[in-house]
């Protein structure tokens, strides 16, 4: 059965994934809105940057984050100056890395949902006295509801399943940065196969359920290029 150390990793994983999902929705929503509507020449470049984690080995992203966030990195110097210290091998660093790593899984479904709404309902809302911000909350969000659900579920599930970035940026510190995927690795290294089974099987069931909900109940297609 699961040990208390295993439960600690489960709890930590849940905390990281929840926080990361909240931040991804906060930053990803305006970004997806901009990407869905802009005619700016920068659109292609920003799309590329957002989608990059989809194809990059997680260790590559983790490596660069480690350098950037480290005490000689640009961001590291900035966070040190702010008095926060450096982020690698901390819980906060893990959340930051997760946000960047899973962002495409949030931005892309939202972007698709926003594009599908089109210009017409927005114009109708404007002729009915709704300001752009009012329109966003009263028309765009309700009409993009399934996009938001997909984005939330995929963002959360993908964060739960990450390994490479976590190991690079977070390390393997119990109660601070040790998440489920890392714990499975630890168990296998220690030849504790039955422990590994419990966690791995749990993650398998979790992922399967999430996707099943997406494909059947919500009838959406997780949009990943």
């Amino acid at each position: 059965m699961l040990t208390s150390a295993d439960f600690a990793t489960l709890l930590l994983t849940f905390k990281v994934a929840s926080l990361a999902t909240i931040f991804m929705l906060l930053f990803g929503t305006p970004l997806a809105w901009w990407l869905a509507r802009t005619r700016s020449k920068w659109r292609g470049l920003i799309n590329t940057i957002v989608a990059l984690p989809l194809v990059l080995p997680p260790t590559v992203l983790g490596f660069y984050l480690l350098i950037l966030l480290g005490k000689n990195g640009v961001i590291g110097e900035f966070t040190t100056w702010l008095g926060i210290g450096t982020l690698p091998f901390t819980f906060a660093g893990l959340v930051v890395a997760s946000v960047l790593y899973s962002m495409p899984f949030v931005v892309q479904p939202l972007q698709t949902a926003f594009s599908n709404i089109g210009e017409q309902p927005l114009e109708a809302a404007a002729t009915l006295r709704a300001s752009p911000i009012d329109t966003f909350f009263s028309v765009v969000i309700p009409q993009a509801k399934s996009g938001f659900l997909t984005a939330t579920i995929l963002g959360f599930a993908h964060t739960v399943g990450e390994f490479g970035v976590v190991l690079m940026v977070g390390g393997n510190i119990p109660d601070k940065t040790r998440v489920v995927s890392v714990q499975i690795y630890n168990h296998v290294e220690a030849l504790e196969y039955s422990q590994a089974h419990w966690l791995a099987g749990g993650l398998l069931v979790f992922s399967f359920t999430v996707l099943l909900i997406l494909y059947t109940v919500l009838k959406t297609t997780p949009h990943v290029k």
Binding site: P121, E123, A124, T127, L128, R129, P132, D134, Q143
Partner: protein, 363 residues
């Protein structure tokens, strides 16, 4: 009465999209129904969208009933949601996530003016949508959707109602279902309408004032009957060329199943109409149904033979001559053959008689 004098639209727009330029300078009455008529690509929808603020022109000045909505010289531009207008799109454009009732309430919730329940009921009744209130838009027919969209714009009691080909996406049957509503809207609610269409039928049926657009420019702008009968416009050349008269019922000749209607300077006999004496009617006379004679025929089966004066003559297509006449104070168009024009020796100023073979009642 003084307030009424201020009811004008002044619209000046210059817009350049490379392959399309709009350049208009209009002063329109903001009362009754003004139709913006033109072929696709004439700029009529662009003009309407500019007035709504949905599209920005490089140079613009827009004044409605004395308040300035746009003035590019001083950088003034009232965003769409702050303009007291109603807009009906070509596609009904209802919010798919809201019921009919919530759609109707969407704008109402956002205006500060006190909510007038009687007016709301009147509009719902007028458009016949009371039984649809709890439905979702996806469960409405095209015609029902469009009626809800019209009601949604009207409940705001706008200073002007902009309609962009509201019937274009509907089949002939649905059109006939909505047209009578549109005719009554203006009379019963007294909201001025700016209506975009390319349909001759809708022009004849709805317009009080007509603006003809062609390639982004105003070709003509004036009262309906005058503009329809201008020989310098392609409208008068069209096979569907018509004149529209506003008449009033004065007498029922029950033994012959006829109704007599009067216009400024004369009267006409029509097939019996089931309406009270004094009822105003709109009568459409096709130019192809009007013939010209020099004397009153002694015996004819045609009931309506009226004295007229020739005001203008122009050559039409394929051997046709187009004649503009004046009957009483009403302009009238006649399409006749060029041969007849020569044989009858028709000249401007000549007094003749017109025989009207048929006409249709529009309301």
């Amino acid at each position: 009465m003084n307030r009424k004098l201020n009811k004008f639209i002044t619209a000046r727009f210059k817009l350049d999209h490379g392959d399309f330029q709009l350049s208009v300078n209009l002063r329109l009455p903001n009362s009754g129904v003004t139709v913006l008529f033109g072929h696709s690509g004439s700029g009529k929808t662009t003009l309407l969208r500019c007035i709504a603020g949905l599209q920005k022109a490089q140079q613009s000045y827009l004044e409605i009933n004395g308040s300035v909505w746009e003035d590019s010289d001083v950088g003034a531009f009232l965003p769409t949601h702050k303009r007291p207008l109603g807009y009906v799109f070509q596609e009904a454009n209802l919010f798919s996530h809201l019921t009919v009732h919530e759609n109707l309430n969407f704008g109402l919730k956002r205006i500060k003016a006190s909510f007038n329940n009687a007016k709301f009921e009147q509009i719902i009744h007028l458009l016949g949508i009371k039984h649809l209130l709890e439905r979702m838009p996806e469960r409405l027919s095209g015609g029902e959707k469009q009626r809800v969209a019209i009601a949604r714009a009207l409940v705001l009691n706008p200073e002007i109602l902009l309609m962009d080909e509201p019937l274009a996406s509907l089949d002939a049957k649905r059109k006939q279902e909505i047209l009578p509503f549109l005719g009554r809207l203006n009379q019963e609610l007294n909201i001025p309408v700016l209506y975009v269409t390319h349909s001759h039928q809708e022009v004849a049926q709805l317009a009080d004032y007509l603006v003809v657009l062609e390639a982004g420019k105003v070709q003509a702008s004036g009262l309906l009957s005058e503009t329809l009968s201008r020989l310098d416009l392609p409208l008068s050349q069209d096979r569907e060329a018509t004149t529209v008269w506003n008449v009033t019922i004065v007498e029922h000749e029950t033994e012959f199943h006829l109704t007599r209607v009067a216009f400024e300077g004369g009267s006409l006999s029509l097939p019996a109409i089931d309406a009270k004496i004094g009822t105003p009617l709109r009568v459409q006379i096709y130019a192809r149904d009007v013939s010209i004679v020099l004397e009153v025929p002694r015996a004819t089966s045609i009931l309506n033979v009226l004295p007229a004066t020739i005001m203008d003559i122009a050559d039409g297509e394929s051997g046709q001559t187009i004649v503009r006449l004046k009957v009483g104070n009403q302009p009238l168009l006649a399409h006749i053959t060029r041969k007849s024009a020569v044989v009858l020796n028709l000249k401007i100023g000549k007094d003749v008689f017109v025989q009207i073979k048929g006409m249709s009642i529009l309301n």
